[in-house]
């Protein structure tokens, strides 16, 4: 048996926001919100925690930097030191550009990777259409009644001007 969830569809950002805020005042747990574009106010309205993506970026960057330095020092100083244009084997200054580039590369790739992984986005991910046009122009608020009656949730959504409301899952 599925977990019981109540969906309400809204036509615009403002009414959605209002609904979200109202629902949280009433102590409803907000399962998620689906919108055609990112709504900045939602983060605090839903009380989302700030993503930790930046730390991934930082780590990725460090990894890239260390890899680059290791590669160049190994190749040019330890494994195969040569007299190239009379410059010392460890021409550290000349190693900077590559170090920088690899830093950026790994930082970028790791962030993107982490994002996809965390958001479970991948080519074969199942697409759940909660409502028609959810990616187009419909805003959907999904409430988790969490013990409280689904009816109450539905009521609340209708009050806040949802264009139509639906209850998924739960015992029939």
């Amino acid at each position: 048996m599925l977990k019981e969830r109540v969906l309400g569809c809204f036509a615009d950002e403002a009414s959605l926001l209002a609904a979200v805020r109202f629902a949280r005042e009433r102590g409803f747990a907000i399962d998620d919100v689906y919108a055609p574009y990112p709504i900045h106010a939602l983060d605090e309205a839903m009380g989302l925690r700030r993503t930790r993506l930046p730390y991934v970026t930082l780590l990725g960057g460090l990894a890239g930097m260390i890899a680059a330095i290791a590669l160049q020092v190994w190749g040019a100083v330890i494994d195969w030191p040569l007299d190239v244009g009379g410059k010392p084997a460890n021409s550290a200054l000349a190693f900077l550009p590559i170090t920088f580039e690899l830093t950026v590369l790994l930082a970028g790739l790791s962030s993107a990777g982490a994002f996809l992984w965390r958001s479970r986005l991948h080519p074969t991910a199942p697409v759940r259409h909660l409502a028609p046009g959810v990616t187009d122009d419909t805003f959907v608020l999904v409430l988790d009644p969490a013990g409280a009656h689904a009816e109450a949730a539905r009521h609340l959504l209708v009050e806040t001007g949802a264009q139509h409301v639906r209850i998924d899952g739960g015992q029939s």
């Binding site: 007299d83 190239v84 244009g85």
Partner: protein, 1008 residues
């Protein structure tokens, strides 16, 4: 396609003689083949399984067999190499043979490097009294002519390949017939340096009544010999001794490039000019009076440009001045009045007088009168007997123009019944070739000894191809007493037969020319020496050393007998006619030889065709050199094709179409055109390159003049860009070549070399331990003769790219000789600077290569790793000296570049120690790293180890002026190290901070 690639080595081979092929197949002495041997080996182990050991045994054997099989071309046992006497030949180790150069009639001594039976490199022989270890560009290139696939592979009878038996039969019969009729028979040869051959010819001619020899040279010193006969009663070419002179005045004689004996003269010249050399405190000063910019003129301390027609008067002016000084009666006081250069000439005369007895005047004008005037000058100065040696004369030019002219008349009259042509090509280079051709048509029987079907040979009834001099026995006596030997360094590649053996065969004797030669030496040379008692001993030692020098006769002053008045009159008359012609707006044409192609005999040699002319830097073809003033007046740009037409002789008009080259120092009113081009039957490389200028030569009194008057110049509207390797001629005020006058040098040895920037480095220097190779080029010694360029090309398998690629600026030479002018366009000062990879310690090329394909070795070499190179060309862009060369295409085995690297025969010249670079990689001077490695190895196995001078780069070895020195900078006693501490020493573009390993010594000019 397949056909021209495949060459055959003998007639049997050509006819696929089964019996021969059978002999080829049998690889083991007992007639076994390798397979049979393998079968046996298998039988030896019952399991029938070849053990690894068997395999290795067989492999080792087949390797050995292969290398032995490759020895089939080693010279006969009679030839003796210089350094070691191998029973057989050690594969991969070169042996050296001393021989005599056949490139021209100078007869320089050579050492020939033979690798696995193939001669692959020509070097100078230090033992040679003339060349003393030097060579010239043409000499260096002769080894390539050996592998010229245009050579005849066998005798030709009536236009078809024939056997020697057939040929002998035919020739005996025909010559017999002529003899029976007591008909005229003429043997037309070039200069024959070989006494033995001369003797043989004499004996042979004696058998035929009415037979005689005529010596023909397209560019001869006939007038000089005639004049010597008239003045001194000796029909010889004097031996000029620059090494004894303090002042040389050359009148149109290109003695550093093409005149008489360039290598010898260059050597003496540079040695005598070196401050502190034998010249002591007074080095040899050089004045050149000439009518066009020659290599020699460009090196002169003072150069006086006159018109060709003024040369005679110029000589008179000198005579005038000298006689005044000497207090003699002045034969010619008035004539020089209208000579523009008379004041400078007076100055020269004064100098000559100051150096009387220690000066020499040489003259390259083929005019008896002028030569007599010059002789008179020398004898007034008392040079005859000191710097002009008549007692030990030179035999290097025996051409007799008048005799040839007479021959042509006889032929026209149909008197000559048989003509045998050896070593000359009159149908190409006789001034009046048309008459010669007509005459030849009336000759009943024509024999040629040419090595290819050239212009003349193609008209002959019988062609008996002469072997290349590297395949033959011979001897030479370039200067009296200096006997040298030519020994084969390889068995004849083709079914050729030595000219001498032909004569022997036809006179019914045993055709053993080697025996004859040996016998000649036993009778003629052996008795005149006192070092060896036993002849065999003497012979072997002579072969090893390349010859033997008999003590010279002490040379005596000889009085200049005879009345000079007629000669003077002739000179004046000639001058008057020239003046008349000039008044009618006629242009004078100066005809000259070029260092590379000389009289055109080397036209099919791609190395020489692509060798930039030392002065003009133009390759692949000749051109009309006009003065800058004439160019502006006629609105001519370089490469504009002009038509040069006029009459060389009455009723004999000539027309020539060539591109223009603008030549500073060329006197206005005269143009220069090089001879030796426009061959039609030289071979695929030389045919149709440039235009033939010989028809412009006037025959005055039977002497082929080197200049003609009354010509007209008109533009054709066509444009044909010159294939020049240098197009900008000014140093733009940059101190690239630093120079000083002798006086300045005496005050301060570092004169002209003041800018020595203090260089800081961001990094600690690498330690210079063990060997650290370096090079120094003495710009004072370098004459720009370009011998080094060809030597490098031969040593390092440098590709020939052809005219179009040179036009695109893609020549591949690893060493080039930069030439800069300074001063006025009319009278420029010229400097030469050999430029090769400078092997910088802080090489800009190394830092930028993404794949480390060029790095620095611990012994100071900038190394190029071909098989790592991906060809970004970044290194070449970043090279301040622009010495790196890129393989834009595949230059080997590519039909678009159909030169020696495109056929099996031609590739035999390649140096196995140097890889042939493939398309898309960068290459450059390696300081002959293969020679360095070889030297280090030798040093390791010799007591005393490696000594200074053991390792010589190809350019250094070839240099007749000893301008290039290579060695170990860490060995403080070495010449190169000492020269790098010379105050004259500097690096080019020091301020860029590249810290080169190659440097230069400032050029010194010796003022009056």
């Amino acid at each position: 396609m397949e056909e021209h690639r495949r060459y055959w080595q003998s007639l049997e081979d050509l006819r696929q003689d089964p019996e021969l092929l059978a002999r080829r197949r049998q690889e083991l002495p007992d007639g076994q083949t390798l397979w049979e041997a393998a079968a046996e080996a298998n039988a030896a182990n019952p399991e029938g399984v070849e053990s690894r050991r068997d395999f290795l045994k067989l492999m080792g054997f087949s390797l050995g067999a292969a290398s032995l099989a490759s020895c089939t071309r080693i010279p006969e046992h009679k030839a003796v190499p210089l350094v070691d006497q191998p029973e057989g030949l050690i594969p991969g180790v070169a042996s050296w043979y001393a021989t005599t150069c056949g490139g021209c009639a100078a007869g320089c001594g050579l050492l020939v490097k033979v690798r696995d039976g193939r001669p692959i490199k020509i070097e100078g022989n230090r033992e040679s009294p003339l060349s003393g270890g030097g060579t010239c560009a043409a000499g260096q290139a002769t080894v390539l002519s050996l592998y010229d696939d245009q050579r005849l592979k066998g005798p030709v009878l009536g236009g078809r390949p024939a056997s020697w038996e057939e040929v002998d039969a035919a020739v005996r019969e025909r010559l017999g017939a002529v003899a029976a009729r007591r008909g005229k028979m003429v043997l037309l040869t070039g200069t024959v340096l070989s006494p033995a051959t001369r003797q043989l010819i004499g004996e042979w001619l004696a058998r035929y009544p009415g037979a005689r020899q005529v010596v023909y040279e397209p560019v001869s010193q006939a007038a000089l010999r005639a004049a010597t006969a008239e003045s001194f009663g000796r029909p010889v070419v004097p031996h000029y001794r620059l090494d004894r002179a303090r002042l040389v005045v050359a009148l149109e004689a290109d003695f550093l490039g093409t005149w008489l004996s360039p290598v010898e003269l260059t050597r003496h010249y540079t040695v005598a000019r070196r401050p502190g050399g034998p010249g002591g405190d007074e080095p040899l000063r050089h004045v050149q009076i000439e009518s066009g910019m020659s290599l020699t003129g460009s090196n002169a301390d003072q150069r006086i440009a006159v018109l060709p027609s003024e040369l005679g008067v110029a000589a008179l002016a000198l005579l005038d001045g000298v006689s005044r000084q000497a207090g003699h009666d002045v034969p010619v006081s008035t004539v020089v009045a209208d000579l523009p250069a008379k004041d400078r000439l007076a100055g020269v005369a004064e100098e000559l007088w100051r150096h009387r007895g220690r000066s020499v005047v040489v003259c390259g004008v083929n005019d008896v009168a002028i030569q007599r005037v010059v002789h008179r000058i020398n004898s007034i100065l008392g040079n005859v007997g000191t710097t002009v040696d008549l007692d030990n004369p030179s035999y290097q030019s025996q051409g007799d123009d008048t005799a040839v002219a007479a021959l042509v008349d006889e032929m026209e009259r149909g008197e000559v019944q048989a003509l045998l042509v050896h070593g000359v090509n009159p149908l190409y280079d006789y001034p009046d070739a048309a008459r010669f051709r007509a005459g030849l048509a009336r000759v009943a029987f024509k024999v040629s000894f040419a090595d290819r079907l050239d212009e003349t040979a193609s008209k002959a009834d019988v062609v008996c191809p002469d072997p290349h001099f590297l395949e033959a026995w011979n001897d030479a006596e370039p200067v009296r007493g200096g006997h040298s030997l030519t020994q084969p360094t390889i068995a004849p590649l083709f079914a050729t037969r030595a000219f001498q053996e032909n004569l022997l065969a036809w006179s019914g004797e045993k055709p053993d020319w080697h025996a004859y030669l040996r016998e000649h030496w036993r009778r003629e040379v052996f008795p005149r020496q006192d070092r060896y008692r036993d002849f065999d001993d003497f012979w072997d030692r002579s072969l090893e050393a390349g010859g033997c020098s008999l003590p010279p006769v002490p040379s005596q002053p000889v009085a200049d007998r005879g009345d000079l008045a007629p000669a003077v009159a002739l000179v004046l008359a000639a001058h008057q006619t020239a003046l008349a012609a000039r008044r009618q707006g006629g242009i004078e044409v100066r005809l000259h030889e070029k260092v590379a192609l000389r009289d055109g005999r080397n036209a099919n040699n791609p190395w020489l065709q692509e060798l930039p002319d030392p002065v003009t830097k133009v390759t692949w073809g000749n051109y009309v050199s006009v003065s800058p003033r004439m160019a502006t007046e006629l609105r001519l740009a370089e490469g504009d094709v002009v038509a040069l037409h006029g009459s060389s002789a009455p009723g004999n008009t000539a027309r020539l179409e060539l591109p223009v080259q603008i030549q500073p120092g060329q006197p206005a009113g005269a143009v220069s055109v090089a001879l030796g081009y426009g061959r039609t039957a030289a071979g695929k490389v030389g045919n149709g390159v440039g235009a033939n200028a010989f028809p412009l030569m006037p025959l005055a009194g039977g002497f082929a003049q080197r200049s003609a008057g009354g010509f007209r110049l008109e533009r054709t509207g066509r444009h044909e860009p010159l294939a020049a390797t240098q197009t900008h001629h000014s140093m733009e005020g940059r101190s690239i070549v630093r120079e000083a006058t002798l006086a300045e040098y005496r005050k301060n040895p570092g004169a002209g070399n003041e800018e020595r920037p203090e260089l800081a480095s961001l990094w600690p220097e690498y330690k210079k331990e063990g060997h650290f190779w370096g090079m120094v080029v003495d710009l004072s010694a370098c004459t720009g003769c370009a011998a080094c360029v060809v030597a490098c090309q031969a040593e390092n398998n440098v590709a020939v790219v052809g005219r179009d690629e040179v036009r695109r600026g893609r020549e591949m030479h690893w060493i080039r000789v930069d030439r800069y002018y300074r001063g006025s366009e009319e009278a420029p000062e010229t400097v030469y600077q050999p430029m090769m990879c400078q092997h910088c310690d802080h090489a800009p090329c190394e830092t930028v290569c993404p794949v480390l394909a060029t790095v620095h070795s611990s012994d100071g070499l900038n190394q190029q790793i071909y098989n790592r190179c991906v060809g970004t060309r970044y290194c070449a862009n970043n090279c301040p000296y622009k010495v790196r060369r890129f393989n834009w295409f595949n230059y080997a085995k590519n039909d678009h570049f159909d030169y020696h690297m495109n056929n099996d025969l031609g590739r035999m010249v390649l140096n196995p120690d140097v890889v042939v670079r493939s398309r898309g990689v960068m290459e450059k001077c390696s300081l002959c790293i293969q020679r360095i490695q070889e030297g280090k190895l030798k040093g390791r196995y010799r007591t005393g180890g490696l000594k200074d001078g053991d390792i010589q780069t190809a350019c250094q070895q070839a240099c007749p002026a000893d301008a290039i020195v290579f060695g170990d900078l860490n060995d403080h006693g070495s010449t190169v190290a000492r020269r790098q501490n010379d105050p004259r020493f500097y690096h080019v573009l020091e301020e860029v901070g590249t810290r080169p390993g190659v440097g230069y010594l400032t050029k010194l000019r010796i003022e009056a």
